[in-house]
Amino acid sequence: MLAFILRRLLQSIAVLLTVGIVAFFLFRYVGDPINAMVGQDTSMEERAELREKLGLNDPAPLQFVRFIGNAAQGKFGLSYRTSEPVGRLIVERLPATLELALCAAIFAMVVGVPMGVYSGLYPRHWISRVMQAVSLIGVSLPTFLIGILLILVFAVMLRLLPSFGRGDTVALGGWTTNFLTVKGLQALILPSITLGLFQLTLIMRLVRSEMLEVMRTDYIKFARARGLSDRAINFGHALKNTLVPVITIAGLQLGAIIAFAIVTETVFAWPGMGQLFIQSVQFADIPVMAAYLLLIAFLFVAINLVVDLLYFAVDPRLRSNVGAGKGAH
């Protein structure tokens, strides 16, 4: 097990280094860090002097090491657009995105798994067929269109829910939260549904096909023969065995949710990292783009690692395999 974790760690570090190289090239060669720091009327000599002082004339590998060192401390230089430190810009917006992503993921799981279980147990029931059809439409509709439709119905026509912004937030230290005010919670509803809908359909389809598969196996028949209640069979035996792929997909999708928050945040004017990233793409604000890229890569890698470790918690077969020295893969 230790060898497996070590190998996964090394792979993760390799991915991060590659992304780091891309981010470094963007930061150093696509944009010019000097232009962001000085005014129009700074002379060439002063620029050259500053360049020398910041180490921009050093060999590229040395600069790369320095860039990674700074990045690890959250120092990404100044934004071209607002001239604020990039690290602070991102930290200010991180809570908004993470809370939204968390709510969307919970929504997708809490609604998607029961829907999948139901349509897996009763595949021919009309409710299951309706759910299948809806999920096909859910996969085909782009996220932003779902958001617009929800705004149109619930905000413009019915005037029930707010359609933009975070509502009221409460600051807890450096973290601003939506969870403590009614307006904040209301503001979360539509964006979370929009963001979570695609994942919901994915989870539902996955649970459904896994359930269909598991229900045909011998141990389910045996459990029936033993006279266990339907409830114990469906949830204790069947659902439990569908969880490994569901955890994989749900975990990997958590990363996708954070990335797709870009679209949802734009639709709902949600002041999160995704909106910051879109603005930085529009203005070619390279330091923000580089920092966002690194942060997302870090989150993705961390999530993948946690998902791999969760396997051991969920699937006892893996533990015994590794114990017997066969390795997990």
Partner: protein, 311 residues
């Protein structure tokens, strides 16, 4: 004479094939094909069929602005069946021209992704060694990120390299390139996998023995045998490419409002959605959804029809 015979022979074989049979048997697939055909035809014939030319300022009148669709609100006119936007552009015509642009970008970016992916996959599988390792590691890293993020990043980098006016002129090429570059991995992996299987077969060895150049062996002998799965991925990717383009344009980093695609139209309409002019957003949105749904259904059908395991 020989040509017509060849065509009719091909048609007869096509009509006898099980692909055609499975197509006829599925009413959902047939309707998806009809819907796709109608949308594609309306889009590409838009210069002839569209009632107005929405982007010729000479034909626009602000007095026609914000008219609702005919059957819904008061003040609708038959000249503008789906209403007009605030500048008096006919929504129906805008949709037809916009769909044409969306489809063009979708097709072009799938072709870019396909050519790039097939090329890298062939080289990777046939040459092997360090080159293979490098290409596949890059593919792994890129696959860690959702395609939309990669496309956004490429778009942002291009914006950093060239000026804004210049960017609007070449926006369509930038978008095609960005989407193409963000979708190549799937093709490369599939082709590489098939090439690894094919390259040890006797016909490839024979070609090598008679001294054909590696490029020729790859293109003339290996490639035709790995094309099946590639075409299935391409069909499924077409819907995805159209969605990605629409999303980028909606986010304001895709096609500019002077050459609006469906995504751009939805973004422009979204800005006035709060005041109740829903038709400017909803009709392009419905068109996009129908188009993607139909293309996805066709892709799913093609995947199943070409998969011998499911027969």
């Amino acid at each position: 004479m020989a040509a017509t015979e060849a065509v009719s022979g091909w048609l007869r074989r096509a009509a006898d094939s099980d692909v055609w049979w499975s197509f006829k048997r599925s009413p959902l697939t047939v309707s998806a094909a009809i819907v796709s055909f109608l949308i594609v035809a309306a889009a590409f014939l838009s210069p002839i069929l569209a009632p107005h030319t929405p982007f010729d300022p000479a034909t626009l009148s602000l007095l026609d602005g914000l008219k609702p669709p005919v059957l819904v609100g008061e003040g609708g006119e038959w000249r503008f069946p789906l209403g007009t936007d605030e500048q008096g552009r006919d929504v129906l015509s805008s949709i037809m021209y916009g769909t044409r642009l969306s489809l063009l970008v979708g097709f072009a970016s799938v072709v870019v992704a396909m050519v790039l992916g097939i090329g890298l996959g062939l080289v990777s599988g046939y040459v092997g060694g360090t080159l293979d390792a490098i290409i596949m590691r890059v593919a792994d890293v890129q696959l860690t990120f959702p395609a939309i993020l990669v496309a956004l990043l490429i778009d942002g980098v291009v914006r950093g390299l060239i000026s804004v006016q210049r960017h609007d002129e070449i926006a369509i090429y930038v978008i095609v390139g960005a989407i193409g570059l963000s979708f190549w991995v799937q093709y490369a992996r599939t082709v590489r996998g098939s090439v690894l299987v094919e390259k040890n077969k006797e016909y490839v060895q024979a070609a090598r023995v008679i001294g054909l150049a590696p490029v020729l062996i790859m293109l003339r002998h290996v490639l035709p045998n790995v094309m099946g799965p590639v075409l299935v991925i391409a069909t499924i990717n077409l819907g995805l490419a159209v969605i990605t383009e629409a999303t980028l344009s909606f986010l304001g980093v895709g096609l500019p409002s002077t050459q609006p695609s469906l995504g751009t139209l939805i973004r422009l309409g979204n800005e006035v959605l709060q005041s109740g002019e829903w038709w400017i957003t909803v009709f392009p949105g419905v068109t996009l959804a129908l188009l993607v749904l139909a293309v996805n259904l066709l892709g799913d059908w093609l995947r199943d029809a070409l998969n011998p395991k499911l027969r």
